[in-house]
């Protein structure tokens, strides 16, 4: 019992979740079937949400689940299904651009190592507020209101563009068949 009490359960949870996240992220890259890659991607996003939960960031964790595991994975699903191949076992393949890939990987690794050494270990500025949603909303609508509105405008433009494209295709279809 004493041994069990001495373990920091948050640390256990963090390391489990981190291991799951790393393994599933590697599997997203290494599995040969792209549908399996999407499912592993969902696992990765959910374990990342778990890491947020260990930081008491419930709201961010829920956002992670609804936006990434819920929406991004579905978007990838649409992408896969629209460009379907007959042999799904050979859809997430390796290519022979080893030299270029090694260069890019080395560059990214060095850059992230440099940035992480430069910033050092970040100490938390304070406790997480109990009412996170309100603090986030206040920050979004006061300090960061312009980026927020710009993002909203961008999404609106994308929505209008999507509707326009869908309409265009329909009109062409009607012309060519009549």
């Amino acid at each position: 019992m004493e041994l069990l009490d001495s373990i920091s359960w948050v640390a256990v949870a963090f390391h489990t979740l981190a291991a799951v996240a790393v393994i599933s992220a590697l599997l997203v890259v290494f599995v040969r079937n792209i549908v399996h890659a999407v499912l592993w991607l969902a696992v990765f996003f959910i374990s990342l949400a778990g890491v947020f939960l260990t930081l008491n960031a419930e709201f961010i964790a829920a956002i992670q689940v609804i936006v990434y595991a819920g929406a991004i994975c579905i978007m990838v699903v649409f992408g896969i299904m629209l460009i379907r191949r007959w042999n799904m076992g050979e859809t997430n393949l390796f290519n022979s651009q080893t030299v270029a890939a090694a260069g890019v990987v080395a560059l990214v690794t060095m850059l992230s190592a440099f940035l992480s050494f430069k910033s050092g270990v970040v100490e938390p500025a304070g406790d997480v507020p109990v009412n996170q949603v309100e603090s986030i909303a206040t920050a979004l609508l006061t300090k960061y209101v312009i980026p927020f509105e710009v993002a909203a405008l961008l999404l609106l433009v994308a929505l209008v563009g999507a509707i326009f494209l869908a309409k265009e295709v329909k009109a062409d279809d009607a012309d060519s068949h009549s």
């Binding site: 499912l39 969902a42 959910i46 419930e58 819920g70 949603v133």
Partner: protein, 352 residues
């Protein structure tokens, strides 16, 4: 009387454990596990009996009797059915992705269980009181989409794949009006905590102050659970049974039971957000709060069944058109009117 029966059991268990010298942290953990196992049992047993309820309600609406032979009034019919399904062979289709195919009927029950963990069943009766309850619930609910799709894809069957894609398209389209409808209530209460939302309906239920949001929620909820008139995902006459075509035995039964678990969630959510949760109407306090919750929940489930056996299925293009051109603008208009109304009411001092 009866009001504190479940809270009393929890307190008794806690006292028993601390009397036996169990440290506080383990006490809490054991209690939480007991609560979650109780909820899991409740979901499974309830899903089983909802199948029976569905068949009886359907039978009465079609002037039949429905299952009456197994047990008193046929109450054990679905239990016997599950026994039969458990004994059946699980047929593995040729070319199916076996791991995904066999895993999906198992994981389909994870989102409902995670959601029931945060629902307030009665006064002080919530397993995990979350500050962001509503949002957590919507986030977890969005996870079932990919499970349906993966099940359809892994079957290696054209109909299953079409059904899986239909489920993705339908659930993504109707999630939007569902969330937007709930926003009206959240704007009034100013909180995402389910307990606080129930508490703030003491004077008037939100079904009366937010009738449009309630209707939009009801329709979108029906679509989210893939029930007639929105059962295009299964569509027996078009794509046989959609993602479940290739599933046999208990695999099929798991999807079938998960549908009822999802109906329960949508009804329970409706009860919490619009029908006052566990609050007793007309001051009828002698009926315990948890019983009120379940009465309202079953009333909503009955409405779902009533609609199912009354209306025919709608077409795919009508489904999408209705969702995007009617429900979403309606929900947005509701948010706008609610916001303006809140300011007017504040200005004339009717509401603080």
């Amino acid at each position: 009387m009866g009001e504190n029966i479940f809270v009393g059991i929890a307190t008794w268990l806690r006292g028993l454990l601390s009397g036996a010298g169990v440290p506080d942290m383990w006490n809490d953990t054991i209690l939480l596990v007991v609560k979650l196992v109780a909820i899991l049992l409740f979901i499974l047993v309830n899903a089983l009996w909802l199948v029976y309820m569905e068949r009886r309600v359907c039978a009465f609406m079609q002037s039949r009797l429905g299952p009456i032979h197994v047990g008193p009034k046929g109450l054990f019919q679905t239990a016997a059915d599950i026994g039969k399904l458990l004994g059946k062979e699980i047929i593995l289709p040729k070319g199916a992705d076996l791991l995904v195919f066999l895993l999906m009927p198992v994981v389909i029950f994870i989102p409902p269980l995670l959601i029931f963990g945060v629902l307030p069943f009665g006064k002080n009766m919530v397993a995990i009181d979350m500050n962001i309850g509503v949002f957590y619930l919507l986030a977890i609910a969005s996870l079932s989409t990919i499970i349906f799709w993966a099940a359809g894809w892994a079957s290696n069957n054209k109909y299953s794949l079409v059904g899986g894609m239909r489920s993705v398209a339908q659930m993504v389209s109707y999630e939007l009006p569902l969330i937007l409808a709930l926003l009206g209530v959240i704007m009034i209460t100013g909180t995402l905590n389910l307990n606080t939302i129930v508490d703030s309906q003491k004077s008037i239920w939100f079904v009366f102050t937010q009738p449009i949001a309630f209707l939009v929620y009801l329709i979108a909820g029906m679509a989210e659970t893939n029930r007639t008139p929105f059962c295009l995902v299964e569509g027996e006459s078009e794509i046989i049974a959609g993602p479940y075509t290739e599933y046999s035995g208990m695999g099929f039964a798991m999807f079938f039971l998960a549908e009822y678990a999802n109906v329960m969630i949508i009804s329970a959510m409706c009860t919490v957000m619009f029908l006052g949760g566990w609050l007793a109407p007309f001051g009828l306090d002698f009926i315990p709060s948890w019983l009120w919750f379940f009465l309202k929940m079953y009333l909503m489930i009955f409405v779902f069944m009533w609609v199912r056996w009354t209306y025919p299925r709608i077409r795919v293009d009508q489904l999408m058109g209705f969702g995007w051109k009617v429900l979403v603008p309606l929900a947005l208009a509701n948010i706008f009117v609610t916001g303006v109304g809140m300011y007017i009411f504040r200005a004339i001092g009717w509401w603080s």
